[in-house]
């Protein structure tokens, strides 16, 4: 089976101009294949988070090329990029970032409703399925700010999955969790990768977490030193 490339970074360079010119990312070139569970590790300040935000299309101030699902992300409008994030990318952040005005279920449903491909009823069913899959279906109708940190992180994974994205990007997904919850979250990723062949890209500084993934990309001073 030939592997298809899900995400490709081609000589990505990034400078911070303020207050002084700093070359943060230097010629980053790598590819992530469909179904891979990849982690990016590196010390704090090596540019791994910066890279993630470029890969996620939220940061557009860079040189080089980013290709997601065969499409270049260069020269796309704000609206088009929003569409890409909505459809093809699922996010899990270090801090769960759920919308506290909504219930758990609504939080999971939002990106699906935004995509607008399915009816509200179908999105609701999908969302409940995803919550069930992650073992938190019973929380569906709770307010988002009334559940524990570990549960929030699982809700945000469910939210990331709602549109069946080509890739899930995570920024220190276990950075804010205790051991037990970290393990639960990692197991979920592992399971998604193994059973659903979900492509996952995790940025972490936790070598223990990284070691258990399929492939590790190590960064230092804005360069990839191992992949």
């Amino acid at each position: 089976m030939s592997k298809t490339i899900t995400l490709q970074a081609d000589r990505i360079n990034k400078h911070f101009h303020d207050p002084v010119n700093i070359h943060v990312l230097k010629d980053i070139t790598f590819s992530i294949y469909s179904g891979e569970f990849v982690s990016v590790i590196g010390k704090s300040g090596c540019g791994k988070s910066t890279l993630l935000y470029i890969l996620s299309t939220m940061d557009t101030d860079y040189e080089g090329n980013l290709i997601i699902g065969g499409e270049t992300m260069r020269n796309k409008t704000d609206r088009q990029l929003a569409r890409v994030r909505n459809e093809k990318i699922g996010f899990v952040f270090q801090f769960h970032y759920l919308l506290s005005e909504f219930t758990v279920l609504e939080n999971v449903m939002l990106p699906g409703l935004k995509l607008g491909k399915l009816s509200e009823e179908q999105v609701r069913e999908d969302a409940l399925d995803k919550l069930d899959q992650l073992g938190i279906k019973k929380l569906a109708h709770k307010a988002a700010n009334q559940i524990s940190g570990g549960e929030k992180q699982r809700v945000s994974i469910a939210r990331a999955l709602i549109n069946n994205p080509s890739i899930i990007m995570c920024d220190e997904p276990t950075g804010n969790l205790d051991k037990a919850n970290s393990k639960i979250v990692f197991d979920i990723f592992k399971q998604l990768s193994a059973e659903m062949h979900q492509t996952i890209l995790v940025v972490t500084h936790d070598p223990e977490f990284a070691e258990k993934t399929d492939r590790v990309i190590e960064m230092e001073d804005g360069r990839i030193i191992r992949q």
Partner: protein, 419 residues
Amino acid sequence: MNGGLIFEIAKSLLLARWKQSLVAAVGVTFGITMFIGLLGFMTGLNDLLDGLIINRTAHVRLFNEIKPNENQPVNISSEFADSYNFIQSVKSVGERERIYNSGAILQALKSDERVLGIAPKISAQVFFNEGSIDITGVVNGIDVMAESKLFHFDDYVIAGNSADIAIVTNSIILGKGLAEKLLANIGDVIQLTTIQQVRVPLKVVGIFQSGIQEFDKVQSYASISTVQKITGQPNNYITEIQVKLKDIGQAPAMAKVYAQLFQTEAEDIQTANSQFETGSFVRSLISYAVGITLLIVAGFGIYNILNMLIYEKMDSIAILKATGFSGTDVNRIFMVIALSIGLLGGGLGLIFGFLLSALIDQIPFNTAALPTITTYPVNYSPVFYIIGVTFSIITTYLAGWAPANKASKVDPVVIIRGK
């Protein structure tokens, strides 16, 4: 696209901060309420004051002024056409006071389609005799039916019956101030002397109060035939024709035409009472200025609250953007919030504005000058309500525009990383 979803999110954000939202809406409500209350009251007052004049004043008045003839014979004479003529001791012509050919003029006016109605009038200077004292005054000979119909003469007769002057021979309606001076009541007979030195007894059948005291001290009304009789004039003697038009705006133009056509002086209401229009205009201007200021202040309230909401909801905005909402979507969400506050506040403002107007309308307002008025006047014109709600939407739109724009530009990276 996604309209429903955007409304849903806007609703949730709005309800999450419902107290602040309510305060903002109350600001708009207050602005609109005061706007409508103030303008309704001011316009009511304007209408009342204008009505004092306009209701009682002819739109076009035809009369002859006592003045010297402009075309003195020597100027008309061809013999002296080339010379420069100095004429001294020119005298006015008293006979000119009457309107010549009044019957034909009345006929012509009656058949004019633009004319709502006409009322002929005679004014005669007289002395009212109270014992040995003579009080100067004016007797107006009027067609009481036409006068009541066109100029609300009835409204100002506070005692007695205005129609009686047409029925009872040799009867008179006295101004309130004049009646007090003459110690005259209804049913009494008063004596007056005309300038032709004829002494006439007249029966008082009514008292009127115009609201202008100086006026009431000298004026009195009798029927046209009575005045013709006491002044010894024939029954086609008329000194003034009052014309009420269907469209008051045409008065200046028509006055010019009539002056030419009938060879009389013709004065239109706009020229005669220009100060009232100026007064009304300034009062309206002030009311609008105050009302709009209130709305702008309310707009700043909305601006502040939206700004605060955006700072508080930075995380939510970032997450919305990260999960696929574009800047435009975020902008729309906040515009929907702003406009909902505006619409809710504006809608309530209309209701409270109406209630405030109704309340003002109930406050007793008794003044000797205005016999027909018992409560403060209020105008309920829908125009104010339309302006009010339109303006509330415009201010909230403008107040929401900057914060919504700011929200749409929130960079999710900064927020997510900044934590």
